[in-house]
Symmetry: C2
Subunit: 199 residues, 2 copies
Amino acid sequence: MKAIPENIAKAIEEFQKLPGIGQKTAERLVFHLLRKPEADLGQFGKAVSSLKEGIRYCDVCKNLTTEKVCGVCADSSRDPSVICVVEDPLDLIALEKANEYQGVYHVLHGVISPMEGVGPDELAIAELIDRLEKGGVKEVIIALNPSMEGEATAAYLMKYIKPLNIKVTRIARGIPVGGDLEYADSQTLKRALLGRMEY
Amino acid sequence: MKAIPENIAKAIEEFQKLPGIGQKTAERLVFHLLRKPEADLGQFGKAVSSLKEGIRYCDVCKNLTTEKVCGVCADSSRDPSVICVVEDPLDLIALEKANEYQGVYHVLHGVISPMEGVGPDELAIAELIDRLEKGGVKEVIIALNPSMEGEATAAYLMKYIKPLNIKVTRIARGIPVGGDLEYADSQTLKRALLGRMEY
């Protein structure tokens, strides 16, 4: 469209490629940026361009890192005998923010999903089993999403972990804090009842 | 947070500065980008960094352009005797997309808003009056938003345009196409009734 300069049209197009960002939102974001000083734009641009620079998977847990071993695994105050299994690094970040967990992680980078052609070999499952077979792990906490794929992956993992005689737990399902019982679905309520704890 | 590499944290921070993008969304966007090839990131980054490169205001209508005169003003098929006054370039883009208007524009770059300290001198109003005083303009279409500030700005403009004996119109208010009469507010319904047209 010749009504707007090429640079602006290009930037709008790039923002539109992001998930959940349609044309109107992309336009709004770009016109917001147009009101910022050039230095701010340079900083944002560089943050995107160099996003993947030096990023690799942690040798131990497959979390994203710039070192051989990620920040959590390298932290000597963390307990390496408890491993929390998550689907992706965003879940790890969410758990870290809860500021409650003192163990380490293992990032699978997905869940088993035959519909999307993701089998166990596409995930960091063999690496997890290797880690467990080396010994020293007392508990594996499965923190996968309560989806069909998450449950299937958990079941698959159980098959390999059980024979190693390691305790396997999973994070509680129930009413979210601030959530409303009235609006909770029946599966969640069922899990909340089954997982009830004594006062 | 040392759970994620510095580059990633930096990019999340930059995305969070955008309007309407909170931490969770910023994280989701950045992790989406992490799955893209470096080349795509470079392209996005460059689009942001160079967004304002060479961008200036059109000498005639104050639209954004990289030339002395914007694409619309430079288009000889457009009718320069009809000027549509808009608040900002996004409104111009929206009108251009409707693919109905054949005249030219004037971009005010805001509306009069005493609450936000925006007076007539902060806007491209003097430039509009100059343009009109040069003659050759038959109609001014006011296409400002139907907010209190938009109405006040329209009233201010009228005061200066009326003495020039130029026809001033404003775009119709009414029920949006696809909109539901039942959910329209009473002011909109009132305007829709007053602006009724014969079949």
